[in-house]
């Protein structure tokens, strides 16, 4: 036995075994309360969204009444929060509700629901500073500065707890604008652009923000916006590839620029962009939000409605007047016979006569010079 007990190799093996068993036991004991806590707890750590949702996730939670009588719902659906784009990125309530650290919450001093929203939305800047700064340059911000507090803030368009990518689907963007701009949205949704967007989820047609801008939306009623309108439309309508897809001519803008209207507008744009000019831009004839195919009987430029459209500016114009507009056509015998013959007359006949005149005069000069040389010789 003694022989055995004194064997150093056996002793070593035995103590290693003991150490291993002890280690496992200690580890198990240490792990036990944690696992029990995980399995049993209904109160997660403060700062975790689930901690907040233990109260706010209860649909029966009473709303908060503010001094002006506004009732602010206190219930927030856990699914909504977790499925929002922020939830998917594992952001917690406190990322935005920075003033609430624990329970009980510190008191808030907002008089109205709007006041509360306008205070909270400013926190968007912490992550989205570029877009936030752009909004400060928008006419929505201008309206707010004038005291119109209903002017939209980030959360009005993007949502708060349910924030999602705004273009899923793309038509959603215009729907958002339509929440406030209902009349315009109603016009738009029946337009050639709007109907293609809403009914076909067309990826090419413009949504509101394509023309008006996204965060720095400016007042579209200014002289500058007006004079830049043809270029705005040309952004798509001069794109040959895109227009070919819909069998639309891509040279409408180039031809417009050579027209009476287009020359006037290009001059004003280059020289006096802040002076109002009445020469027609695209939208004056085609409509703004209610642009339709020219073949559509409701289109402002449908042959049936064309005269009335011209008369908006050209009071007293008769039915012949319509043909004074060359209709985005290149000079051709079929589309513009009068222009065609005029062009032929000047490019062939008149310049021919001028060349003959010049040749005759040059012959006279040569003859006179030779005669003079002969005389002096």
């Amino acid at each position: 036995m003694a022989k055995h007990s004194t064997n150093p190799g056996v002793l070593l093996r035995r103590s290693a075994l003991l150490a291993w068993v002890g280690f496992v036991l200690v580890c198990g004991l240490l792990a036990l309360p944690t696992r029990r806590a995980l399995a049993q707890t209904s109160t997660p750590a403060p700062g975790n969204s689930d901690y907040c949702l233990t109260c706010h996730g209860d649909p029966n939670m009473a709303p908060l009444t503010l001094p002006n009588g506004d009732s602010v719902p206190m219930y927030v659906s856990g699914d909504t929060v977790h499925n929002s784009i922020h939830g998917q990125l594992d952001m917690q309530c406190q990322s935005c509700h920075t003033n609430i650290q624990s329970y009980p919450h510190s008191p808030i001093s907002f008089n109205s629901h709007r006041e509360l929203s306008r205070s909270y939305y400013q926190l968007c800047e912490r992550c989205h500073s570029t877009n936030y700064d752009k909004t400060l340059d928008s006419m929505h911000a201008t309206a707010a500065a004038e005291g119109k507090l209903e002017a939209p803030i980030c959360t009005d368009c993007h949502g708060a707890h349910d924030v999602q990518k705004p273009n899923q689907p793309r038509a959603h963007i215009s729907e958002i604008c339509g929440q406030c701009h209902k009349d315009i949205y109603d016009q738009y949704k029946n337009s050639v652009h709007g109907s293609a967007l809403i009914q076909e989820n067309n990826p090419d047609v413009p949504v509101c923000t394509d023309c008006h801008g996204v965060h720095n939306i400016h007042d579209p009623r200014t002289d500058l916006f007006r004079v830049q309108t043809p270029e705005l439309c040309a952004g798509c309508h001069s794109n040959q590839q895109l227009m070919d897809k819909y069998n639309i001519k891509a040279n409408v803008y180039d031809l417009y620029k050579t027209s009476w209207h287009g020359v006037d507008v290009s001059v004003y744009k280059a020289r006096w962009p802040t002076i109002w000019h009445n020469s027609a831009v695209c939208t004056d004839c085609h409509g703004v939000h209610d642009i339709r195919k020219t073949t559509d009987s409701a289109s402002h430029v449908n042959p049936a409605n064309m005269l009335a459209t011209c008369q908006k500016c050209h009071a007293g114009a008769g039915p012949n007047w319509i043909a004074a507009w060359t209709g985005h056509n290149e000079i051709s015998l079929q589309a513009t016979p009068y222009l065609f013959y005029t062009k032929v007359f000047y490019e062939d006949f008149a310049y021919g006569v001028l060349w003959l005149s010049l040749i005759y005069v040059v012959l006279q000069i040569i003859h006179a010079t030779i005669a003079r040389i002969k005389r002096s010789a």
């Binding site: 027209s259 009476w260 020359v263 290009s266 001059v267 004003y268 280059a270 020289r271 006096w272 002076i275 000019h277 050209h314 007293g316 114009a317 008769g318 012949n320 007047w321 319509i322 043909a323 004074a324 507009w325 060359t326 513009t336 016979p337 009068y338 222009l339 013959y341 005029t342 062009k343 007359f345 000047y346 008149a350 310049y351 006569v353 001028l354 005149s357 010049l358 005759y360 005069v361 012959l363 006279q364 000069i365 040569i366 003859h367 006179a368 030779i370 005669a371 003079r372 005389r375």
Partner: protein, 245 residues
């Protein structure tokens, strides 16, 4: 038609002058010249607005001002054209104005003869009447050009009235015509008219109303012959350019 007697003394050379244009015709030319110039100067910056016109017309008000001046000059020119037509027709009908300005086949023959002369195919220059074919060509080229400018200008000025009676497609055509014809007429005046009245010889008869005897013999032999009954020496004619000295 002569207003000077024939020379009576060898020591005093009395130059005979021949009335070529009446005072009224001379004034017509001045009015035409000035209105043409004003119309051109106010029209060009509008035509070439996007290229260089904007450098001159620096404000929207200046565009309106230039357009107003253009319209005023146009009214002057239209009145001149009407005066010219009405008076011309009246005088022609009453046989108080010769119809020599109208083109004849003789002008075609003269032109052909002149081309041959300039190409050294003949030494004989054609003998001309009151107006040579070059002068007639000037008159009728500008007559038509001004007619085109007046009509198209009025279309552009009153397009709505015009389209009550005429097709709308004529309006952009009038725009193109007005724009082109202005340049054509200007180039023509510069190369054709200026050469013949300034470079070939200085002919101020449209301002003074008179042409001296030598020029009459040299450039309007048939007219000289008709007025004086004297036949111009054939050598004068055939000497061509040499007769200038």
């Amino acid at each position: 038609m002569t207003n000077q007697p024939t020379p009576t003394s060898d020591s005093i050379k009395i130059e005979r002058n021949f009335v070529r244009f009446t005072l009224g015709q001379r004034w017509e030319h001045v009015v035409l010249l000035l209105s043409f110039l004003v119309l051109l100067l106010t029209g060009l910056p509008q035509k070439y607005f996007t290229q260089w016109g904007y450098r001159i017309l620096t404000t929207p008000e200046s565009v309106l001002l230039v357009r107003q001046i253009h319209h005023i000059a146009a009214i002057v020119l239209i009145l001149e054209v009407l005066y010219h037509l009405v008076l011309g027709i009246l005088l022609l009908v009453r046989r108080k104005l010769s119809a020599e300005i109208f083109p004849t086949w003789q002008d075609v023959r003269d032109a052909w003869q002149m081309v041959k002369y300039l190409l050294f195919l003949t030494r004989k220059k054609p003998a001309y009447g009151k107006y040579n074919f070059e002068q007639k060509f000037t008159y009728w080229f500008l007559f038509i050009a001004i007619g085109i400018m007046v009509v198209t200008g009025l279309i552009l000025w009153f397009p709505i009235v015009w389209t009550r009676f005429f097709p709308g497609g004529t309006v952009p055509a009038a725009h193109l015509t007005h724009s082109n014809e202005a340049i054509v007429a200007t180039i023509f005046v510069i190369i054709w008219h200026f050469y013949h009245v300034h470079l070939e010889r200085l002919n101020l008869s449209i301002f003074t109303g008179k042409l001296n005897e030598r020029d009459m013999q040299k450039y309007h032999a048939l007219e000289y012959q008709r007025l004086t009954g004297e036949k111009v020496n054939d050598n004068e004619q055939s000497r061509g350019e040499g007769g200038k000295q």
